[in-house]
């Protein structure tokens, strides 16, 4: 078949009935791209000799090197069956689990799918996954059983064995489909049982007849499993939806082809043969009849189909019997070129014969054209599903929206039809390869023109050499012009060099898309009801200025492309039902979007991704000055990849989250070579910790009762100095270096729920803080009644949580929250006789400010600052504190001289009084220790730290909740991995109607690096975890623990060097931060390398 021209394809695009949009789905390495190669070769785009080796659609370099597909890519093919011409929009998809997001983007744009299964390996995890994906998107699948040659050459099966093997595979595939079907029916029934509401039941039945129109995949909603018809779902060769193939050898067949051959040869009706060629039938040779029930006899399939292929392989590859091959070729009517038949590799001859006898492209494409629906046959069920975002039901959408459904169904290419386009992903293309920048072969006229020019120039040159003077003028006219031209082209080049252009990978569902058209871009949260209300009646995207609607934007389609694998072809317009590329959308489309000329269209439901991104790494540029390039590159990557996520964390880390290790590798390659073009380094992300104190433990490490020993206090003996005192109950008193102030602080653990509550209401507390600040300045911050109520609610909740004798009136005495004034730690005012308004003060407006002891009120702020500093970084490893309450129990100030001086001034004017004191203290404090407020801050900070250390300290680790779906057989391994990584299983339950288990577990973030990958590897991809940050959890072990009791010595030994998880974490953080780590530089002094005499 010759090369199909662009015009031909343009013509074919106009007839939606003859368009097939399909994708190839399979497990990794089952031959998707090879099959795609064969199909591409049938159009003459690549040589059929190279088909299967070239992997034409794997255009990326790393795809070619690794030999796996990493992105979905589309190509338009032409196929003529009889007199009808078909346009096949083929999308090849990756099979690796990391790229299942690419599969989702491909499946969304298609109406049908070719599911491929390796004849040897059978159904694999990804086969199940893609079947599920096809099912969820409501697209119709056909089956290709590939790699049939492996049955012959590798496994050395006889044809009979192969037949039973194939039967098994078919059963497996059908079992998966069946389970999808049953789980759907069961789910529906479960839903229904929940919905006792009878009216809704009725509604459903009302929809039902509508849904039935012209679709085979519609099930009776109200019926149970036994009533639902599932016979159309299954793959069976006699239905014509199965092809047996070997894409590498270039052959493939369906039952139909053989039925046609034999009906002519044997005079049996094709109809009958088609029904009986697969299954339990045999040929009764004498009676020339086909009988049912093969007992020891060869089934028809083996006798008529497999045996022939087996003998061909035997003759060509195994025995290399030249005569027999000649004979066979003659009987098959195949002619092979001499160089093929003489080739030393028998495979070449084989594929040459098979390519003519049973071309795989013919078998697959004819099946596709017959069995898969055209864009016109889109089921209304699928349309409704696409259009009903979230839990919204289709019939709750506005009527105008519902009318759009008919546009979908008709798929009409009239001008009045609304344009509906869905962009499933953005692909990047080198600017060089865009059609407008590409070098085109010169047309005949251009060539002659150039030749003419060259000839002229040559003549001129000759003329000048002969007579210099007169020609001089013409030369000067000619040369500058050509020079200019050169300069122009040179200038244009570096600009385009390596620039990445985004092209949207999209499909037209309705209407004709034209270049330069203006359309609405609907964001995923766009609500058509709202849009219709705001926009004037009958407004379209063509009208100029529109009132702003949330999640709605307008843009122009700059250019339209036909996707031809690696290449793009320019198009002027695209009729409905076609897959296309759209340029110029990078400003308004992030990853996927719905485009339409009608504001009534709801955005399509988001793509459902099988794998969520879980592998987190931190990325840094090798050269710190290239940071902006990295950020830009990551932005581009985010747009180009449907599944990758990028974010900047509070710590300043740039984090990339990908679906798996292979995906990560690809993203990094992309960043390095295409988007950022800088050297980058990848590391584990920084793991945050929190520090806290706990109540003294009742039992020791060997579960012996501790009694009344104050073990902790003994260990963390603080060195007492003349300014620092520690009493056994944990009260720390500290005096500033100039001895003017003394503070006493005690650290108390907060009840578990309090930090949670405080973390959750950080925003509220921030408002409270602002209000308090404003009030201190004598202003009132206007607070909405809602926040006011919310704050009162927070206060009462806190009161509810802080109960008991210890916490009496505690809530009213709260001085501040920290760190950063809204954290999960509390500063409590327990100073006797010191009245200060609590943080809640601003809630009660009526009360005026009652100043307490003014002398120390001024330094109130220093105390708070000291507390903020102390809570921002704890003594264990300089991580923030959490759930600690510092109660200030003593605060004394003595200003020996100034005080009396002040009193004499009197307080007739409190304002000047304040100022005076400021001045005095300011003057008095210019001592060797710096400003007094600074000293006080430092003193409070130190006091808090010491008070913290006087209590049993613990680290808190961030925890992920982890939801794992796993099949029963890999359950044990999942538990193994979880156990190894300190995970804890919370619950395990079986999913209704399937054999999947859902395991809920918690896992420390610190252990999560590589977790997803490990669990996938260990379970061969049958379990996939999802990690979500959930909470902070206290690590049980004390990082400073050493054995003290007799039993502990016995159990742990003197050094206690068995793994102390908390200590390990703490030291890792300290080492990272360059803090002192209590570790020996060498463990054993004697066991060091002995230096020789001369060294």
């Amino acid at each position: 078949m010759g090369h199909t021209t662009l015009d031909k394809i343009k013509a074919l695009q106009k007839n939606p009935a003859n368009i097939r949009n399909l994708c190839i789905l399979a497990h990794v390495d089952h031959g998707k791209t090879t099959l795609a190669d064969c199909l591409v070769a049938s159009n003459g785009i690549i040589s059929s000799r190279l088909a299967g080796k070239l992997r034409y659609l794997d255009s990326r370099e790393d795809e070619q090197i690794r030999g796996i597909t990493m992105k979905s890519s589309a190509i338009s093919l032409h196929y003529a069956s009889g007199k009808t011409d078909y346009l096949i929009n083929l999308i090849d998809s990756p099979g690796h689990v990391d790229f299942s997001s690419e599969v989702s983007t491909a499946v969304r744009l298609c109406d049908g799918a070719i599911i491929m299964v390796d004849a040897v390996e059978g159904v694999c995890p990804q086969t199940q996954a893609v079947l599920r994906q096809a099912w969820l998107e409501n697209i119709r699948p056909v089956l290709v059983i590939n790699k049939m040659d492996r049955l012959i050459m590798e496994l050395k099966f006889t044809s009979q064995e192969a037949y039973t093997h194939l039967q098994k595979i078919l059963e497996q595939v059908n079992a998966v489909t069946g389970s999808l079907f049953t789980s759907k029916v069961l789910e529906e029934r479960a839903d229904k049982e929940k919905e006792k509401d009878k009216e809704k039941e009725k509604e459903k039945e009302d929809i039902d007849p509508m849904g039935c129109s012209g679709s085979e995949q519609v099930y009776d909603w109200s019926a149970g499993l036994e009533d639902s018809d599932d016979s159309q779902l299954y793959f069976s060769p006699d239905q014509g939806n199965v092809v047996f193939a070997s894409a590498t050898d270039g052959w493939g067949f369906s039952i139909q082809q053989f039925a046609n051959i034999y009906s002519q040869k044997m005079g049996i009706r094709g109809e009958v043969l088609r029904k009986t060629l697969w299954g339990d039938f045999y040929l009764h040779a004498k009676a020339k009849k086909i009988m049912k029930g093969t007992k020891g006899k060869k089934p028809l399939f083996v006798q008529l189909v497999l045996d022939n292929i087996w003998s061909l392989y035997d003759a060509v590859v195994t025995r290399r019997d030249q005569d027999k091959v000649e004979k066979m070729m003659l009987s098959l009517g195949v002619k092979v070129m001499a160089r093929d038949s003489r080739h030393s590799d028998p495979k070449v001859l084989l594929s040459a014969i098979c390519g003519q006898w049973l071309p795989v492209s013919q078998a697959v494409l004819s099946m596709v054209c017959e069995k898969l629906p055209s864009p016109l046959d889109m089921t209304s069920e699928r349309i409704e599903k696409l259009m009903s975002v979230g839990a919204r039901r289709f019939d709750s959408l506005p009527t105008q929206t519902q009318e759009l459904k008919t546009a979908f169904m008709q798929c009409s290419c009239e001008d009045t039809a609304p344009v509906i386009v869905f962009v499933s992903k953005m692909i990047t293309v080198d600017a060089k390869s865009l059609p407008q920048n590409k070098q085109r072969p010169l047309t005949q006229e251009e060539i002659t023109q150039r030749r003419e020019l060259a000839r002229q120039r040559h003549a001129e040159r000759q003329a000048t050499s002969q007579q210099t003077a007169p020609a001089h003028i013409s030369l000067s006219l000619c040369i500058p012009h050509s020079l200019q031209m050169q300069a122009l082209t040179v200038a244009a080049k570096p600009e385009d060099e390596g620039k990445q252009i985004f092209v949207a990978f999209a499909r037209v569902y309705s209407g004709v898309v034209r270049r330069g058209q203006r359309v609405f871009v609907l964001g995923p949260k766009y609500n058509p009801a709202q849009g219709l209300r705001v926009l004037p009646e009958g407004s379209t995207s063509m009208t100029g200025s529109l009132p702003p609607v949330p999640h709605l934007a307008c843009c122009t389609l700059d250019s339209l492309y036909l996707l031809m694998g690696r290449e793009l072809e320019d198009l002027e317009e695209v009729p409905p039902g076609n897959v296309l590329g759209i340029g110029g959308l990078e400003e308004c489309v992030l990853k996927s979007a719905t485009l339409s000329t009608s504001p009534a269209l709801p955005p399509f439901i988001p793509l459902n991704f099988e794998a969520t991104p879980i592998v987190r790494v931190a990325i840094e540029p090798k050269h710190p000055s290239e940071m902006p390039k990295l950020v830009r590159g990551m932005r581009l990557l985010n747009q180009a990849d449907p599944c990758a996520e990028v974010l900047i964390q509070e710590t300043g880390e740039h984090v990339l989250v990908t679906a798996g290790e292979v995906h990560l590798q690809r993203c990094l390659d992309d960043l390095r070579e295409r988007f950022a073009k800088i050297k980058i380094s990848v590391s584990k992300p920084i793991i945050p910790f929190r520090e806290t104190v706990v109540k003294p433990p009742k039992v020791d490490m060997v579960n012996e009762d501790l009694g009344k020993q104050q073990k902790v206090a003994v260990i963390h003996q603080v060195k007492e100095s003349d300014t620092l005192h520690l009493d056994p109950s944990g009260l720390v008193t500290l005096t500033t270096p100039n001895r003017q102030a003394t503070v006493g602080v005690r650290a108390v653990p907060l009840p578990e729920e309090v930090p949670l509550l405080l973390e959750g209401s950080a925003d509220l507390i921030r408002t409270l803080e602002q209000a308090g600040q404003a009030q201190r300045d004598g202003r009132f911050l206007d607070m909405s009644p809602r926040t006011h109520d919310a704050l009162l609610g927070l206060k009462s909740k806190l009161e509810g949580l802080l109960q008991g004798r210890k916490w009496r009136n505690a809530v009213d005495r709260i001085w501040a929250f920290g760190p950063r004034r809204h954290g999960p730690n509390i500063l409590l005012n327990s100073v006797e006789g010191y009245q200060r308004p609590s943080v809640w003060h601003c809630l009660e407006r009526d009360k005026g400010e009652k100043d307490g002891d003014n002398a120390i009120r001024d330094f109130d702020n220093s105390i708070v600052s000291g507390f903020q500093l102390a809570t921002l970084s704890g003594p264990m490893c300089e991580e923030p504190l959490m759930g600690v309450c510092f109660s200030v129990e003593r605060w004394e100030m003595n200003f020996p001289i100034q005080r009396t001086h002040l009193d004499s001034v009197g307080d007739e004017d409190s304002n000047s009084h304040d100022q005076r004191r400021h001045e005095d203290i300011g003057a008095g404090v210019v001592d060797c220790y710096g400003p007094f407020s600074g000293q006080l801050i430092a003193a409070v900070k130190e006091a808090c730290r010491h008070a913290f250390q006087a209590k049993p300290q613990r680290l808190m680790a961030a925890m992920y909740t982890c939801e794992i779906m796993a099949t029963a057989e890999v359950l044990g391994r999942v538990y193994g991995v979880l156990g190894k990584r300190e995970g804890r299983v919370l619950q395990e339950e079986m999913k209704e109607g399937t054999d999947m288990f859902i395991i809920k577990a918690v896992l420390p973030v610190a252990e999560s690096f590589g977790f997803a990958d490990e669990i996938r590897k260990r379970t061969s991809g049958l379990a996939s975890p999802q990690l979500v940050f959930s909470h902070w959890e206290v690590i049980g072990s004390d990082p400073f623990w050493v054995p003290t009791t007799e039993e502990e010595y016995l159990h742990f030994g003197e050094k206690a060097d068995s793994a102390n998880q908390a200590l390990k974490y703490m030291n890792a953080v300290r080492r990272r931060k360059g803090l002192y780590v209590e570790e020996k530089i060498v463990e054993h002094g004697e066991k060091q390398r002995t230096l020789g005499k001369n060294k």
């Binding site: 900047i648 710590t651 001045e919 209590e1078």
Partner: protein, 250 residues
């Protein structure tokens, strides 16, 4: 005195000598390499892991053991373990290779941590990671000076890094309240110190919220205190002006 012959001579290449002069005499002890610092910091608690032998020498390399009389005269005790502990704690020693290496590494990290804490990327207002700072320090060939404090060195590093990358000290957010009559005059004086003026409110008194370099804090404080005679006030709203929370790049 034993006869000193090459056969019973012990090469002391693997010995760390700690020496101390007391009472006009020199005392030395023989220790294992890379152990003395651990002992001093308290990480090593086993004395036998530190000392090669518990005897005290006049000269370790010559093998001259100190005399008992000298010891008791100088230390007031003849308990060798006690004396060894004293010498270990106060004597001078040559820091061995690994000890020095780990010291340098720690202070290098410490400097990087301080820089990372104090600085932000002026474009994004987000901190740099310690790793990145460490690499940047390597790029400018910064070498740690063991006799300067890490904080001092960190400030020096920030200055040097400014040439090679986009880095800036995180600004402090301050609120200044100045009395009306000094307001204008003082504002002119403060202007060169202020980086960004966030809000300015002039009614009965001048109130400003601004971002300043933390290095200028003291200068400003002094200026305001002296010029307004204590009437103006200066309040720190936040020590570090950085973006909070995670941001998704889109």
């Amino acid at each position: 005195m034993s006869i000193f012959t090459p056969t019973n001579q012990i090469r002391l290449t693997n010995v760390a000598v700690v020496r101390m002069k007391k009472g006009g005499k020199r005392f030395e002890i023989a220790c294992y390499k890379n152990k003395v610092i651990s002992w001093r910091s308290g990480a090593e608690k086993d004395l036998d892991e530190v000392l090669q032998t518990s005897s005290v020498f006049n000269n370790v390399s010559k093998g001259q053991v100190a005399k008992k009389d000298d010891l008791s005269k100088a230390f007031g005790t003849d308990d060798l373990t006690e004396i060894c502990k004293q010498i270990l704690a106060k004597g001078e020693l040559q820091v061995s290779d690994k000890e020095r290496q780990s010291q340098l590494e720690t202070s290098y990290r410490d400097i990087a941590t301080i820089v990372a804490e104090k600085c932000v990327n002026p474009e994004t207002k987000r901190p740099y990671t310690v790793n990145l700072i460490e690499r940047a320090m390597k790029d400018i060939h910064y070498s740690v000076k063991p006799n300067k404090s890490t904080k001092q060195q960190a400030l020096e590093v920030i200055r040097q890094l400014k040439d090679s990358m986009e880095i800036q000290r995180a600004h402090m957010r301050l609120r200044l309240v100045l009395p009306a009559k000094d307001g204008k005059r003082l504002k002119e004086k403060l202007k060169p110190l202020i980086k960004v003026m966030e809000s300015e409110d002039f009614d009965d008194q001048l109130e400003m919220v601004c971002l300043v370099d933390p290095g200028c804090y003291r200068e400003m404080d002094e200026l305001i205190r002296c010029e307004t005679k204590g009437k103006g006030s200066l309040e720190v709203l936040s020590l570090k002006d950085v973006e909070e929370g995670d941001e998704r790049l889109e």
